[in-house]
């Protein structure tokens, strides 16, 4: 690897640095830091788990162990099915059509219709009252016929709105069937991933336990999965084959060379 800090170049597989944080070096390895630049292989999926090992490392141990097993080329019998499920998921197209606008249109048309119906009834009563009183009917009559005309328009709109909603609901139902299939496939993919992870963890169980026991300065518990996160992270990095350099910020090793040798990987050692 080639590491450059403020323009000063260092090369090798075990480089110790000072006055630079582990986070800064990690950002540089991921390809984005102003002061620090690292030329090395791209970080693989293992990097997000154990790429940076500090005393405050948090780790989902089983997931990381399974990832480490993958970097060594281990596979499971479930991988083909999982890939097929993922392909099907990629192909599945779920539209985003929402009948919300159609629902709103029906509700508004219904409310308009109700309002106009009441208005027509009220005007009919008024007209009758004017007639009974022998008054001038013409104004009320004109208002009533205008209201009746509006009511018939709104009725037409309400019927059209209901038909549109029905059509939208039919479309939404087809779409939900696809969404349902997608959900089933996602669940299936998640189950396969969980099962594959368990199998991978099982395949490297002994090796991981041995690595945990060999971590310098560790007091390994009976169950290697109960080890402290930093111990577990070091063990995972040791059994895996990290693509990119590891950023190590713990006092478990005397120097960069010791860390790189134990981990059998390129290391940037924060002093």
């Amino acid at each position: 690897m080639r590491l450059r800090i403020d323009g000063r170049l260092r090369t090798g597989d075990a480089i110790a640095v000072t006055d630079v944080s582990a986070a800064a070096v990690a950002a540089a390895i991921r390809g984005d830091h102003e002061r620090v630049h690292v030329a090395a292989p791209e970080p693989g999926p293992l990097f997000e788990h154990v790429g940076v090992i500090t005393e405050s490392t948090a780790l989902r141990v089983r997931t990381a162990v399974a990832r480490a097993a993958r970097t060594r080329g281990l596979t499971t019998e479930l991988d083909a099915e999982r890939a097929a499920v993922r392909r099907r998921l990629d192909e599945l197209e779920c539209g985003e059509s929402d009948p919300k606008a159609a629902r709103r249109r029906v509700a508004e048309a219904g409310a308009d219709e109700q309002r106009l119906r009441e208005r027509v009834a009220e005007l009919r009563g008024k007209l009758q009252a004017v007639r009974d009183a022998g008054g001038d009917e013409s104004t009320v009559e004109a208002t009533l016929s205008e209201a009746v005309r509006e009511l018939s328009e709104v009725e037409t709109e309400r019927i059209a709105a209901e038909q549109a909603l029905e059509a939208a609901e039919t479309g939404a139902r087809d779409e939900r069937a696809r969404r349902e299939e997608r959900l089933e496939l996602e669940d299936r993919a998640a189950n396969l991933a969980r099962e594959a992870r368990a199998r991978l963890v099982d395949r490297v169980r002994e090796e991981f336990a041995a690595a945990v026991a060999a971590v310098p300065g560790a007091d390994p518990p009976a169950d290697p999965y109960e080890a402290s996160p930093v111990t577990a992270a070091l063990a995972v990095a040791r059994i895996g084959e990290p693509a990119a350099p590891l950023v190590v910020d713990t006092d478990r090793f005397d120097d960069a060379a010791a860390a790189a040798a134990w981990l059998d990987a390129p290391v940037v050692y924060i002093r």
């Binding site: 985003e96 929402d98 939900r176 969404r179 997608r182 959900l183 669940d187 998640a190």
Partner: protein, 112 residues
């Protein structure tokens, strides 16, 4: 009651959390669906879910099905007779043919 059905893992997760947080409003929970009390508070929760997950959340207003009100008597009679049939393997269409019981096609054409 309000029936809320979810169609994605994220929406299902949120529904689970909502049910857990507002048990009083939940009538029944199914895997990725739940039936809520018919209150405005339950409607608020349903709409919140829809705001968050869009078309991955379906909301329906349901009510009790009253077989004495919502369907004609022949359907009730047919159901009772079919359930007490002698041959468990007889499909309904065969069971109904040649009797007074309505055939499946005419039942499908009848709306509730």
């Amino acid at each position: 009651m309000l029936l809320v059905v979810t169609y994605s893992r994220a929406a299902r997760r949120t529904l689970r959390n909502v049910c857990r947080a507002h048990e009083d409003s939940v009538v029944t929970r199914f895997g990725r669906a739940a039936l809520f009390e018919p209150t405005a508070f339950a409607a608020l929760q349903a709409l919140r879910l829809r705001e968050k997950h869009g078309v991955d959340v379906e909301v329906r207003l349901t009510r009790t099905f009253n077989e004495f009100d919502d369907v004609e008597g022949d359907v009730r009679k047919a159901a009772a007779a079919y359930e007490s049939r002698e041959q468990p393997s007889t499909p309904y269409a065969k069971f109904a043919s040649g009797t007074d019981h309505p055939d499946p096609e005419s039942l499908r054409a009848r709306e509730l």
